[in-house]
Symmetry: C2
DNA sequence: GTCTATATTCCGATAGAC
DNA sequence: GTCTATCGGAATATAGAC
């Protein structure tokens, strides 16, 4: 309900600047000087509030992860039908990434480049549990309402189709010859396209 | 007259070491010292052969791109049926990434972090042209052999399902609770799963 | 061509005045 | 709390001996 008011405290300004910088450039690419400039303060203050670059990064990376993970769990753990759940998940996820287009690359990239740091210091929270949705898929198959399919692959397919186009956006634009606005519309349209595509595939 | 035989030439050793290093760490994360160590030579020699880190990176990045792009074009521009083309594409692509698992992250990550450099210095080659496959999809729809679907989304769906699981491999392993070998088997199995999934969706 | 040594720049971090 | 000044180390790059 209540977000942190943090009117324009220096600490908050630093955090926001670091968020912006780390999100776009990753840990290696981000420089403390750039964060200080963006926050409109001196480099020394970064260390006053956050001691080291690592600790500042940890705070930011945790916040970035939090943006995505918990809200997805709500959809997956609800008691909607499989089709409704799929629809909600796809819409929710794509809208989220449309508003925060750098999050997927940040997570993927940082987790691959600094796996130990990420798993130890950033991620140790409860991840989405797939068991519930697995069981739901299997019972739909048993009831003959959808064709037989390995739930793991189904989940991977859906998430892949939602997230990957954002990662590949610059290349996709180039290959398909689309303007920035056309590309955005295409990504937006995928909310419906993915649901149709998956439901068509699941017909018994 | 004399082409580069490069059997174990110093230049080749440097190139290989740089390839390894840039592929795993990207431009910002890679250090010239590490490349020199890996090549078993001195830092100064890197500059003797390649002048700057940028130029060494350009040479390596071009080679990495070449690994993937041209071979894909061969499949897409062949005269196979749509289903055969899909099958060949998926098998080819997944096998390629299984053998070179760091390529997708390298391309995605570097193109997003250094887009100007990448588009100016690395990419200016002929990219796969989608028109041919688009027309093939549309004629299959017109003939009633597959259901109506926007070719752009179909292509994006297929590529997404092939590539994304490799990018998300560490997280997927964690969420699904798989060993490294189980995860590899899952990715291998996707060659058939993706084709089934797509063909099922395309049923009229 | 290959090395050692060094120049130069950059960056994270700290000291100390206010 | 915030600043200026600076340290110490790392990283890219060059000079010069062999």
């Amino acid at each position: 309900m209540d977000n942190k008011p943090q009117h324009d405290s220096t600490e908050q300004r630093i955090f926001d600047a670091a968020h912006e910088t780390f999100l776009h450039k990753g840990f290696d690419g981000a420089k403390m000087q750039e964060i200080a400039d963006r926050a409109g303060i001196n480099k020394a203050l970064l260390h006053y509030y956050y001691r080291t670059k690592e600790k500042l990064y940890e705070a930011v990376a945790r916040a970035i992860i939090q943006t995505a993970v918990p809200r997805v769990r709500g959809v997956l753990e609800s008691d909607l039908s499989l089709e409704d759940k799929l629809t909600q998940f796809v819409h929710f996820y794509i809208d989220l990434i449309l508003k925060n287009p750098y999050i997927p690359l940040f997570i993927i990239s940082e987790i691959n480049k600094h796996p130990d740091h990420f798993f130890d210091k950033i991620l140790p929270k409860e991840l989405p549990k797939p068991e519930l949705i697995f069981r739901q898929i299997e019972s739909e198959i048993a009831a003959g309402r959808i064709r037989p399919i390995d739930p793991k692959h189904l989940i991977i397919n859906v998430v892949s189709m939602c997230v990957f186009p954002f990662l590949a956006r610059p290349i996709a634009r180039l290959i398909l010859g689309l303007s920035a606005e056309e590309m955005r519309a295409l990504l937006e349209a995928r909310k419906h396209e993915i649901v149709s595509f998956v439901m068509a595939s699941l017909r018994p």
